[in-house]
Symmetry: C2
Subunit: 216 residues, 2 copies
DNA sequence: TTAGTGAATGACTGAGAGTCATTTTTTTTA
DNA sequence: TAAAAAAAATGACTCTCAGTCATTCACTAA
């Protein structure tokens, strides 16, 4: 009776092998520049096998995206766990998001790619759907931090916590995206007077000031 | 001697014909679901001709993006022209951005697509490059509004105007993206308590409060 | 009228995603 | 242990489609 379990384990292993191969190629050469034949080669499997584990090329990319979301989720959970006051949790989450975009630029790139394109989540058997659910999970961490802050009196109860989480998420994503796009350019060309390393801390201070209660 | 000029006019006309055809198909069926043969058919031209006017399919999509950027630019210029105080110009630009995303969701979609993907601007003969320049032009309108506000004393001189323009742009883009993605969902499912039509005005108020000087 | 130039054509090529009949491997049954 | 059944893997093949290029067509100038 251990056979079904071992099968499942082996199946999971194959899936990981394929994902590792795809990730390496996608991240170093770009998704469009990578063929499924190349992925199969690198995974030492035939092309047909890839399609036993993933619906299609996009699904494969979504699966990588899903990995990134799990990393992000854990970084958020760690960040939240390191602070007591809600307002501090909120800020820590923002900083964790920035750290994520720096440490895993390729996962971050995948996130942005899917964020900007309206995906079809109707088929629950796809990684697109799993990513959708995972995103909601990540957002809930933010909303919980906001809510905790409103409950402990450290965050101004300006609006519904869920709503505020969306607002914070959107703003922060937007700014991180801009900074990450222009980082090298701004760094190498200091005549603009824009120091990209100052921008995000400044933004976090700004948000902090807007949300934090006087008493906190 | 008017021949060269007429040629140029006709060339411009052809380009417009192709763009109109592509835009219709791209916007109603999606870029990936549209073939260049279909575009050629709709434009009543042969496929080869498309490639006399646009480098490739992506360039064609960039050209449509470029149209959108010009519309946005004009909306921004109008918005800025309707107000005197810098802070009011800034807010009007934000509201114009929102109006743009509502009125031209497909142009807006193209913008998001290119914003999230790192494009190659090295070839100055592509529409990608023209879009890059146009984006900078649009951003300069924002920066000018901010600077005007700092000069007339209506906007707090918290940081370099250009920098603040980037910050505002990033935040606003991020939030508009989120709202536009979830608009229908939130509208149709009011149990969340999130009214998407309240979210953006609330955000603009928030920014207004953060930037506006007491005396203004 | 004719030579020359620029524009347009569409059949063709190459690339690559996805399929499926066949083979190989593993498990179950007798 | 051998045969049958089931599961997994294969890779040659198909089909779609972006992009090309030798050829044709239309217009202009000599």
């Amino acid at each position: 009776m251990g056979i079904a379990e071992r099968r499942e384990r082996e199946r999971e292993l194959r899936r990981t092998t394929i994902l590792d191969a795809a990730e390496g190629l996608f991240f170093s050469n770009g998704v469009d520049q990578t063929t499924m034949d190349e992925v199969a080669d690198k995974a030492e499997l035939s092309k047909g096998t890839l399609y036993l584990y993933f619906k299609n090329k996009e699904d494969l990319y979504h699966a990588i995206h899903y990995r990134g979301l799990n990393i992000l989720k854990n970084m958020f959970l760690t960040a939240v766990g390191e602070h007591d006051a809600g307002i501090d949790k909120v800020r820590a989450v923002g900083e964790a998001y920035l750290a994520f975009s720096r440490k895993y630029p390729n996962y971050y790139g995948a996130m942005m790619y899917f964020e900007a394109n309206n995906m079809d989540f109707s088929d629950q058997a796809t990684y697109a759907f799993k990513c959708h659910e995972a995103s909601l999970g990540v957002l809930r961490i933010v909303a919980d931090a906001v809510e905790a802050g409103m409950n402990d009196g450290s965050v101004r109860p300006l609006m519904d916590p869920q709503l505020m989480a969306y607002l914070l998420w959107g703003q922060t994503s937007g700014i991180i995206l801009i900074v990450s796009k222009n980082y090298d350019h701004w760094k190498s060309d200091p005549e603009h007077g824009i120091d990209p390393d100052m921008l995000l801390p400044g933004f976090f201070d700004f948000i902090d000031k807007a949300l934090r209660t006087k008493s906190s």
